[in-house]
Structure formats: structure tokens, C-alpha cells
Symmetry: C2
Subunit: 523 residues, 2 copies
């Protein structure tokens, strides 16, 4: 078999089930190797869709997907969503095709420093130096990506490593019957657990801030028991990689985005207990506001470091508290009445509280529209909420694409501002091609509306002047979102009232494939 | 004034007339400073549009534009077209906003190694460490970008350097009445010129390969005289940053893209004389083909190094040849009859030969459709032809946008394959917003058609299997290009015959603003 075939065998053998691809000339042997039925290739029309989809896949599967990218510029186009995935602790194996090694010295037009481009946002970078090195290199990449927390592994695949002879099938090291790579579990230090138990027993105001694997499944239930038994509040950073929430789940309070609100929210809390995350930090620094959000005299206690196991830690802590029999806090279902009238952040949140179907995946990049009101959906039917962890906008439509491929039996709702949606709108085409159950909701306020508030927050002035405003408003021309959806093969509908919006979301969840709703907002 | 204001003053003072912007929270003071009427801000919905437009601006103005990008991921989204610009020797000043310096240690979500991301594709990278450092840093960035050949300069602007006090207007070094930065001229070594003169006098078959500034204006006319006087052929690499061609210009033969054709083209040429470029190299390496394209016994002579001045060199060479009075080769106008029938590469080339208006700018990224047939437009009305120098597809619609802003009185024709157009389709919106005279021609073959040939060329197999083919065909779903154009505010028309195509191109050149033509191709 050639190097490309050994690579696909290795990916499949280690449980990498999917490859989000935007190939070019140097990846033709890899394309040929994708005839292997053990891995599903998914074509993306832009590399940021591929890397964002891999992030979405990981969020729902806890297992890395692979991407196929074309030399340095192809990787570059994927980097913004690699940044977001890295901040979400999503594992990912990027395969970056390159020129044959003998060709590099001629500095052909597409040549660039791929390692240099990959390193700032990858945890692991390797160039395979021969066809027979590809399989062991790939196995290492997958193992790295599958660590806890997930890692970005980037494997550079020269043309001749791809087409060269890698030996007989099964002959390469670790090829054949390969175990699915599972992340190891590492227990936290018992002394730290004991220290946190003392804090909780003290009765002083405390908040446990959970992240990554601690915001779902058994870990979330366990920490819900700790909160119930100890009286500690349970919080999350403003952004969470994947939060299981809604009726029947342990509720988690969300630290607000805006600095003054976040500081008010944390006021009076004497102890912040962190789980797979650090203490709360402002997203941006503003001229007259601090970076750190907690009270100055509040203490920070690390209960679970990012590479440790939250379930183990919570079990140890429940033991230490003598509370192993406690019941978890549980969020009741809140039956929200159908909203009516104008579309605004509150009526939109109420509509979602009504319309989110059982077991939905909600990918949120609504920024201005949804940022401060998602709390109103806390009592909706149980669902997974996915946020943008890296802050590079254009993450939602690709992540929704990958999440839907990971969970084809669930409905994915992708809530995205019009400004954000334009970065990676090519996702719609892949959704149509794969007939994915995704409802994309475009909040069309014809503006980078978040920047209007930030202009004043930053102290740039009370309000933007005409030229600055023209860099914030995107109403000239107005984007026709139904035409955009149609052009990429996705049906859609435009709504302007809360009633129509609610009905449209409900109707969309009964579609087999993708659907787009343009929610027209007026200032 | 604050740092951002001093930056805009410095840009304007050094002749940077335009800023292609995709701003975020950390760039609010820069936005405020753009109220300065001496610089035109142009909003782009994706960073790759901004950097590609800056490339297009430089190609037509020989002067750097600036871009405004939002932290590391914003820069990352612009890198692919920065790569293309770098390969085109286009100068560019990238302003990358970053967090305030005091905020960096908290590793907030959007933080990343911006220097690390910038370095592989920038010639110059600097982080301004204070507000008062911004103006001198920016002056240096502009001087670097304006060198010959043009350079990529990337200036990182922390929030506090932006909002901090930079002193009184005019107080910062080198602000005030600033000269427009002009690239220096450097003469080539006289010995090299004499050596080339000897080669040309020998009468052995020779080809002068011209690039960058040598493919237009007086330099092109001078080298046309050298060719006429010496009998040397005049060639260009397959891709040229900007070639003045058509009736009345000195004709330049184009080295073919495909390796066997390129080798056949160069067969028998004993001397390759290079001007602002190197010897011809294959775009990709294929398993059974060489990287170098010339005959094995051919000699390569550098007449003009990339940082030297072609006009000076050609004058010296004409002197050495005693041919200063020679007349240049001139391409006559070829009146092509209006084509009819099916749209195919030949009829499309004939249509363009008829329809290209006087003084048009033709940006070509037609790949499969236009690659081997553009020669048929050699006798068209005089025009500028712009190619993708870096090979990262998705360059054409942004470059056309920037070229049209640089030359609002000329019509820009942007010829682009459907696969290529999808990378940076957001350009259309900026074209509509700025009412730019751009005709975008989408060659819709519903395929990354170039890869079908490359599959066999690479030896991956005679033809792609079903899964590999599904990674090459983009016909499921078919992209509706008229809906795409309408969604972004651009009128359009679909054509299926050579007559309709010709008429549509001609009609589009009479539009005031942008227009899109979908040329439907059938295999």
C-alpha cells in the first residue's frame, strides 16, 4: 500500500470515522485512499468549514475527526476555527498536503512554511519524511488529539510520502486491529480535594465553576449533588464547550459577558472553585475596567486541572463531604407561553424556550441577539448548548455541520448573527449535500451590532461617527438570506414576528434536511 | 492624539490611501480615527477579501494599501491571500488589533501568538509597545511595504497602544508633511548585462523571461526592442502579477502550466535570461516528472534580480547591443468573429477577444476553463491581465475588488471557476456596497475540474473512484449563482451559449456597478 492508503487505514483503525476535506492536487493519492469505506469523506467548499466541522464532531463525540487541507494556505484558511477548537479543548487531526520533498527547494508558488503556520495553534506538528513513516506518525497524531483535554495535531503529508511505498497492508507498526484511542483519566490530588471540602464546609459563599467534560453527563450530575449538599453555587464561564442543560439537568448559572455585569454577578463570592478551567477573565480589556472579574479578596481554588478527571474528583469530594447519598439539583421544565409581537432578544428567547425540541443541539453564535437572554431557555426541553470558545466569529455554521454529522438523529439549531454567518456561509452547501438536520437561524439586524456597544465601552466615543458607523453597519446592501440559502441548496423562510418565528422553528425541526430561518430584526 | 489617530495620520501622510477593514472590539479607536477623511475605509465581510483587495490595489497602483484585522484569527483568515500577494510581490500594510498589553497574561479566549502567525508570510512584523511608538512603527511598515519588490508588513496594535496618548498632532517623529514612500531603484551589475549581451549576440536560441515590473509600461516596451533587435523570444512564467497585453503592446509568450507542454515549449532554448524572476519550475511535482522545465543543457542567466530595476537594465542592455534605436515588437489587433454555439474554452476565449473593452483589467482565476486558451485573447483590445501568483484559490474576486477601487474608471473583468469563487464570495457584497465596475464571470462546471486531470497526472489512478469523485464534483447541490449574486446585492444573468456569453460580457461593461455572469458549462 502507499503512504496515503496507510494513513487512511491508520485513521480508521484508531477510530477516526470522518474526514472533512478540501483537497488539491497534492492530495490526489489521499483522495484515492478514501475509497476505503471505513472513513467517511465530507467535502467542504472552504477550509474554515472543514476545521469548524471537525470541532463540532469532537464536541458531540469526544473523539477526533480528521481534516484534509491543501498546503500552507489551505491550513491558513482553517486556522481561525482551529483556534476556536483549541480553546474548546476539541481534539482534531489535520492532514496538510505538501509538495514532494524534492520539489521544496525550488520554492514553487504554493510553497510556504507550513510548520511555521501550524505551530502557533497546534499542540503537535510533524512532517512525515517517508511513506513508511506515515502510519506511525498518524498513530501518534491521533493519540495526541485524543488526549484529555483534546489536542490539535497537524500532520504534514508530502506528495512523495503519500504516493511512495509504505509496505504491505498490516506491515506498518500499529496498523491492523487497532484499539480506538481513549483519553486517559487522571485523578486530582487528594490534598486539593480535601482543601475544597474544608472551604465548602466553612459555609462561606462559594461558587464551583465547571467547564469542558464537567458540564455534562455523570460529572454534571455529581457536581449537582455537591452543590445541593454544600450550598455552593454552580457556575460556568460565559462560554462553555458543551453544556447539557434544560429540564431534568443540573442547572448551571452563567457568568455574564459584560465586565460590569460579570463583576456584579461574582460580588460577595468568597471562594471560586475551578473545574477544568481558570478564574473568570474579561473577554477584552477596556481602558477603565479590570481584567479579572472576581472580588479582590476572593480566593481561587483549583479542584480539577484541565487534564484531570472531573468525575473522579467529584466522587472524591462527595466522599470527603460525606454527601455521597445527596440528590442533585435539578432544573424543572418551565412551560413558556408562545410569545407574540415584535422580535427582540426576549421574545426570541421565549420562542426558543417553546420550540427547542427534546435532545436538540443548540449552537449559539447569536452575539448581540442571544447573549444576555439565553437564560430564559434554562427550563426548555433538555438540550446541549455549544458556545464559541475562541471568540473568532464564523464558528457556528461549521460547528453545527459537524455536530449534525456526529448526531444525525438529533436536530441541531444553529443561532447566528448575520455578521458572523458571512465568514463561513459555505457550510450551508455541505449541510444540503449531506442532508443534515440543521436549522440555521440568522438574526438579521444588518449590523455588527455588538460593536456598537463596544465602541462606547472601549471609550472610542459616545457613538460612532459616520465613517466608523459605516464599518459597523452591514445594511448596504442588505443581505438576502433566503437567496443565499437557495443558492447553496437550502430551503428557507423569512419571519418578522415572534409568533411566526416560533412556528418556523418548530416546523423546521420536522424537516428531514437543513432549513434556514431569517429572523428580521429592527432596531 | 491617541495612538490610533497617529496611525491613521501616518498612513495617510505616507500615501496609503485606503484601508480594507474587518474590525472587532479591540479596533474601536482605529475605527474612530478613520473619521480622518484622508484615508478611505472599505468594509469587507471576511478577512481574505480585505487582504486580497489590498493585493489588487497594489497591482494597479504600485503602492501599498492597508488592512485592518482582528487579532490572530482575523489575521489567519487573511493569510491565504497574503500568501498570494507575497508571491505577487505586492506591498501591503496589515494592522492587526490585539488585546491591551496588561490583558495578555490572562490568556483570554481570543489571545494567540500573533507574531507566530504573521512571521511565515510577512517580511516585517512589529508589535507597537506604546502609543507613541505607533507612528514611527507605522512609518517603518509603510517604507518596508513600498520597497521594490513590494513587501508584506504586519503591525500589531495592542488596545492600549491604540487608545493611549501619542502626543500632540505632528509631535510624533516623522508625522506631518510626509513624503509618499517610493521604492528605490537599483541598477543591475554591468558585468551581468554584458554577459547577457554576449549571449544575445551569439545568435543561439534564447528566451528572455520577464516578471513583475518588467511586464508593463516602459520596461515592456524596452524589452520588446531588445527582442526585436536580438531575435530572442520573449516569455513569461505561466503566472504574471500584471501583464499589459493586447493590441499595441509588446507580445509575451506564456510558458504553459502542464509539465509536458512547458517542457516542449522550452525545448531547444539554449539560454534563459531571467528578469525579476527565476528559472521556470513546475507548479507541482508529479511522481514521474521533473521539477525543472528547461532543457538539461540550457543555461540560466540572471539579467535583473527581483530587487533591481528592469528599465535601467534594459536601457543598459540596449546600449550594449548597440540597439537603442530599435523598434519594439508590437502585437496587432486581431478582429475575432463573434463565436457561436456551445460554451467551451475556445469559444469563451474568442468571446473575450471580442468583448474585452479597451483598457480593461482582467483578473483570471478560471483555472480549467481559461488556462490553456487565454492565448486567443492576445490580439484583443489592450488590457491588463492579472494572475494568481501564489496558487491559493479564492484570490480573484478580492483582487478584482481592490483593482476596481484602484481604477474606478476602468472595467474589471473577474474570470473565476465556481470552485474558486466559493472561497471568498463575500467580495461581491463589497463590490455592491462600493458600486464597483466589476463583471464577475463564473465558469460553472460544477466541479473542481482541474483536479480530474490532476488525479491521473499524479498517478493516483486512471480516473477517480466514486468516493474520490465525490470530493471533486461540486454538483450536489448545484450552486445557484444568480441567487448568490442577488443575496449579496449584485445583479446577474445566466448564459449557456457563446453568443449569449459574448453579448452578456459586452452589456456588463456598460453597467455602472458590479454584474455577475454565470456561464453554464456542460462536460
Amino acid at each position: 500500500m502507499n503512504g496515503a492508503e496507510s494513513l487512511v487505514e491508520t485513521l480508521a483503525g484508531h477510530g477516526v470515522e470522518i474526514c472533512f476535506a478540501n483537497p488539491g492536487t497534492s492530495e490526489m493519492h489521499f483522495l484515492a485512499a478514501l475509497e476505503n469505506p471505513r472513513i467517511k469523506p465530507v467535502l467542504c467548499l472552504f477550509e474554515g468549514v472543514a476545521t469548524g466541522a471537525a470541532d463540532g464532531w469532537y464536541r458531540m463525540r469526544d473523539a477526533p475527526a480528521s481534516t484534509l487541507l491543501h498546503l500552507g494556505p489551505g491550513l491558513a484558511n482553517g486556522l481561525a476555527n482551529i483556534h476556536n477548537a483549541r480553546r474548546a479543548s476539541s481534539g482534531m487531526v489535520n492532514i496538510v498536503g505538501d509538495h514532494a520533498m524534492a520539489h521544496l527547494k525550488y520554492d514553487a508558488p504554493l510553497a510556504s512554511d507550513i510548520e511555521g503556520l501550524a505551530r502557533p495553534l497546534s499542540h503537535w506538528v510533524r512532517r512525515s519524511v517517508s511513506a513508511s513513516a506515515v502510519a506511525p506518525d498518524a498513530a501518534e497524531a491521533i493519540a495526541k488529539a485524543a488526549e484529555h483535554p483534546g489536542k490539535i495535531a497537524t500532520l504534514i503529508l508530502p506528495g512523495d510520502a503519500s504516493w511512495g511505498d509504505a509496505g504491505p497492508p498490516g506491515g506498518a507498526p500499529r496498523i491492523g486491529v487497532l484499539p480506538r484511542v481513549e483519553a486517559g483519566r487522571r485523578a486530582p490530588d487528594a490534598g486539593r480535594v480535601e482543601q475544597v471540602a474544608r472551604v465548602l464546609r466553612s459555609g462561606e459563599p462559594a461558587m464551583i465553576i465547571v467547564a469542558n467534560k464537567a458540564t455534562r453527563g455523570r460529572a454534571l450530575e455529581l457536581v449537582g449533588r455537591i452543590a445541593a449538599a454544600s450550598g455552593a453555587r454552580l457556575g460556568s464561564q460565559f462560554f462553555t464547550a458543551r453544556l447539557e442543560r434544560g429540564a431534568g439537568r443540573t442547572p448551571v448559572e452563567r457568568i455574564p459577558y459584560a465586565v460590569p455585569q460579570a463583576m456584579a454577578f461574582l460580588q460577595g463570592i468568597r471562594h471560586l472553585i475551578t473545574v477544568e478551567t481558570g478564574e473568570p477573565v474579561a473577554f477584552f480589556r477596556y481602558p477603565d475596567r479590570p481584567s479579572l472579574l472576581k472580588d479582590q479578596d476572593a480566593a481561587v481554588h483549583t479542584l480539577v486541572a484541565p487534564d484531570e478527571d472531573s468525575e473522579m474528583a467529584f466522587e472524591m469530594l462527595l466522599d470527603a463531604l460525606g454527601a455521597s447519598a445527596a440528590s442533585a439539583l435539578v432544573q424543572p421544565r418551565i412551560e413558556t407561553p408562545m410569545p407574540s409581537g415584535a422580535l427582540n432578544p426576549i421574545s426570541i428567547a421565549h420562542a426558543l424556550a417553546v420550540a427547542i425540541p427534546e435532545n436538540a443541539i443548540v449552537v449559539d453564535e447569536s452575539l448581540t441577539t442571544g447573549r444576555e437572554t439565553m437564560g430564559h431557555t434554562m427550563g426548555a426541553r433538555p438540550h446541549d448548548l455549544i458556545n464559541n470558545m475562541g471568540g473568532s466569529i464564523g464558528y457556528a455554521t461549521p460547528v453545527a455541520t459537524g455536530a449534525a454529522l456526529a448526531c444525525p438523529d438529533r436536530r441541531t439549531l444553529c443561532m447566528v448573527g448575520d455578521g458572523s454567518a458571512m465568514y463561513t456561509i459555505q457550510s450551508l452547501w455541505t449541510q444540503a449535500r449531506e442532508a443534515l438536520p440543521v436549522t440555521t437561524i440568522i438574526f438579521a439586524n444588518n449590523s455588527y451590532a455588538i460593536l456598537k456597544a463596544e465602541y462606547a465601552n472601549m471609550g472610542a466615543g459616545a457613538a460612532p461617527g459616520p465613517r466608523a458607523a459605516s464599518m459597523i453597519d452591514i445594511d448596504n446592501p442588505t443581505i438576502d438570506w433566503l437567496a443565499m440559502a437557495r443558492s447553496l441548496g437550502v430551503p428557507g423562510m423569512r419571519v418578522e414576528t415572534a409568533e411566526d418565528f416560533t412556528q418556523a422553528v418548530i416546523a423546521s425541526t420536522r424537516e428531514e434536511g437543513p432549513f434556514l430561518i431569517e429572523a428580521k430584526l429592527y432596531p
